[in-house]
Amino acid sequence: MADIFVAPKHITVPNDSEDMHAFSSFCQNPKGVRFQTQKSHETIILFLRSHFITNVSWIALSFILIALPIIILIFLPNFGIDFLSSETLIRFTTIYVLFYYLMVFSYVFISFLHWFYNVFIVTSERVVDIDYSDIVVHNIAITNLVQIEDVHYTQSGFIPTLFNYGDLFAQTAGEMENFEALSIPKPREATHIIGDLIGKGPSAG
C-alpha cells in the first residue's frame, strides 16, 4: 500500500561545533557561519573553500610586484635614466609609485577576496555554492540534498596529493546545474560526508 504521509528524514547534526578561523578551508559544523537564505532550522554541516596552498601563486607574484619598483629605481641610474633628477620628475615618480603600490594592494586584496568568498556549504537541507569569480560577478547556486544524485572527487597531481586537496563534484538530477568545489582540502572526507547526506532532507516541493 502506498504511503499517505512520509515524514521527512531528519539529519542528526553532531553537537561538536568547530570554531572557524579566517583561513579555514575545511570545517565541519562551523560555529557562527550563516548565509543570507539560511532557514532558522537549517544547520551548516560542512563548510569548504579552496586549500590555502592554492593562494601561493598570487602571494609569490605580489612579492615580486612589491620588489619590482625598488629594483628598477636602484638599477635605472646605471643606464643613465634617473627619475629623480628634477623636481617635476620627483613629483610624478612619487605619485606613480604610490599608485603602483595601491594597485598591488588591490591585486592582493581582490585575490584574497576571491579565495575567501568562493565557498561551498553543505547544510542539513541543501548544498550552497557561492562563487565570487570576479569583482563585479558573484554567483550563488543552491540545490536541495534530495536532488543530488551522485558525488565524486578527483585528486591528481603531485602538489594536490602532497597537500591532500582535490576537486569535488556533486551531480544533480536532470537539467539542473552541477556543483563543484575546486581544490578543497580532504576531498575524500568531504565526499563521504555529502554521500551520506544524499537523498536526505526535505524535498524541493
Binding site: 572557524m20 578561523h21 579566517a22 579555514s24 560555529k31 557562527g32 557561519v33 550563516r34 548565509f35 543570507q36 617635476t88 613629483r91 610624478f92 612619487t94 605619485i95 606613480y96 604610490l98 599608485f99 595601491l102 594597485m103 594592494f105 588591490s106 586584496f109 581582490i110 577576496l113 575567501f116 568568498y117 565557498v119 557561492i130 565570487y132 569583482i135 563585479v136 558573484h138 550563488i140
Partner: protein, 73 residues
C-alpha cells in the same frame, strides 16, 4: 587649436594621470560595495570586520591618492 598647442605636455600627462586615478577610485568603491554585499550574503565571523575595514582603508587610500595627485602634480 592654439589653446591646445600652447599647453605644456606636462599638463596633459597630469590630466591623464588624474583621469586614470579617478577611474581607480571608482573601482575601489565597487570593491567596497562588493565586500558589503558579500558580507550580507555570507556571514563569516572570523574575518568579516577586518575585510570591511581593509576595503574602507583601500577606498580612503585611493581618494587620498587622487587628492594628493591633484595637489602635488
Amino acid at each position: 587649436m592654439d589653446f591646445i598647442n600652447s599647453l605644456n605636455p606636462i599638463f596633459w600627462i597630469k590630466i591623464i594621470t588624474l583621469v586614470v586615478i579617478a577611474f581607480y577610485v571608482i573601482f575601489t568603491f565597487v570593491v567596497f560595495t562588493q565586500t558589503k554585499v558579500m558580507a550580507e550574503i555570507l556571514h563569516l565571523p572570523s574575518a568579516q570586520t577586518v575585510i570591511k575595514i581593509i576595503s574602507i582603508i583601500h577606498l580612503i587610500f585611493a581618494i587620498s591618492l587622487f587628492i594628493g595627485a591633484l595637489v602635488i602634480l
